[in-house]
């Protein structure tokens, strides 16, 4: 269960006034959940991802991401920057919780013709996608500077979360990938529209159509990552980026961000439609079953 500290998500301050948050010298822990926690560190709202094995995003994470999105919409406790990092050894995030997705979809057994005839389950997934898109869009368009400190695995939905950030700082051991086509799917949390916003077609097609992973320096060369730093250094460097960004006038930063970072709203809607269309196919059911039931120790290798 989530441990709630003095301020609950959705209720940014005790006084209820997000414009005047309570401050003290020590970092103020605001929320501690099962998948993520956040606290204020001076002008930065730091979000820690801490669900083992590698911050898989399922319904628990979604609820807490929605709570954080509400906090961001209501002023982020007065923070000027939002910083994401992971305390899980394996990396930033391995993406969607495929175990949960599989068991949620297949609780009545594996339909031989796929899920096309199961409107209820498809509607449930659509609802999940709508909710996660709402949260990710809130992070993407937040009126403050968002910084991601990435190390280790940053795959699928985790990569999609990272792509909502304004600035990414990656450790040398960070790896980025969209392995969804291996499951007969496309990324469903807004990844492709955001990738198309940030990099050229050669990189998008290579990543999406081969499912390969790329290291931090390649991601840097592609323009996805702002800085590549030594292993163990990303959080400290990301904090400096956030602190520097917080020095400038808030309104100017907000207007500049709005100018340079627009939401690809139409493509995001199309992506959800395509995901649901593909999910209905028997290919996905078979691929998910194979992934979940596999005893292979190396499911993330081709």
């Amino acid at each position: 269960m989530a441990t709630e500290f003095p301020v609950e998500p959705g209720n940014p301050t005790k006084s209820g006034n997000p414009a005047q948050p309570e401050r003290c010298m020590e970092p103020e822990r605001l929320y501690a959940g099962e998948a993520l926690s956040w606290h204020l560190n001076e002008d930065t709202l730091e979000v820690e991802l801490h669900r083992k094995p590698c911050n898989e995003i399922g319904t628990t994470a979604l609820r807490e991401l929605e709570a954080l999105a509400d906090v961001v919409r209501q002023g982020a406790h007065g923070a000027r920057a939002l910083l994401w990092h992971s305390s899980v050894t394996r990396g930033f995030s391995a993406g969607a919780d495929l175990q949960e997705l599989y068991h949620g979809l297949m609780d009545g057994g594996l339909p031989p013709d796929g899920l096309a005839a199961d409107a209820r389950k498809l509607a449930e997934v659509r609802s999940f996608l709508d909710r996660i898109h709402d949260a990710f869009n809130a992070f993407d368009q937040a009126p403050l500077v968002t910084v991601g400190a990435v190390r280790g695995v940053c795959f699928g939905g985790g990569f999609e979360l990272a792509l909502t950030c304004d600035v990414l700082v990656a450790e040398q051991n960070a790896r980025f990938a969209f392995p969804e086509l291996r499951l007969g799917l496309v990324p469903g949390f807004g990844g492709v529209p955001r990738l198309r916003r940030d990099v050229g077609n050669a990189a998008i097609r290579d990543l999406l159509l081969t499912g390969r992973s790329i290291r931090a320096s390649r991601a840097h060369a592609l323009g996805l990552v702002s800085q590549v730093v030594g292993n163990g250094e990303a959080l400290g460097i990301a904090r400096m980026v956030a602190q520097q960004a917080a020095r400038f006038d808030a309104q100017t930063t907000c207007k500049a961000k709005r100018f340079i970072k627009t939401l690809p709203a139409s493509e995001l809607r199309q992506e959800k439609d395509l995901f649901i269309e593909l999910l209905a196919s028997p290919t996905v059911a078979r691929a998910l079953k194979k992934f979940v039931e596999s005893k292979d120790l190396r499911p993330y290798l081709p």
Binding site: R90, G152, N173, R175, R212, S213, Y300
Partner: protein, 79 residues
């Protein structure tokens, strides 16, 4: 750089990453079984290898690659 040089360097990288004695590893070893690593650890090693040799090795080129010697061949093609 010869294949032997590449293999020796690979073994050294793997030994350092997974805290093993390099002298106990050989070119013909199955690196997954010998090192006892999962996919996350394999990806860490891949990053180490790419950074150390300054090459890019797409994951799919590693299909069927199980030994240090075979991995050295893949890297050699890209040097």
């Amino acid at each position: 750089m010869t294949q032997n040089d590449i293999t020796t360097k690979l073994i050294s990288l793997a030994a350092e990453r997974f805290q093993q004695e390099a002298s106990t590893l050989s070119a013909a070893d199955d690196l997954f079984d010998r090192l006892g690593i999962d996919s996350y650890q394999a990806l860490e090693l891949l990053s180490d290898v790419e950074n150390a040799f300054n090459v890019e090795v797409p994951d799919y080129e590693l299909q069927g690659v199980h030994t240090f010697a075979a991995l050295a061949e893949v890297i050699g093609r890209r040097l």
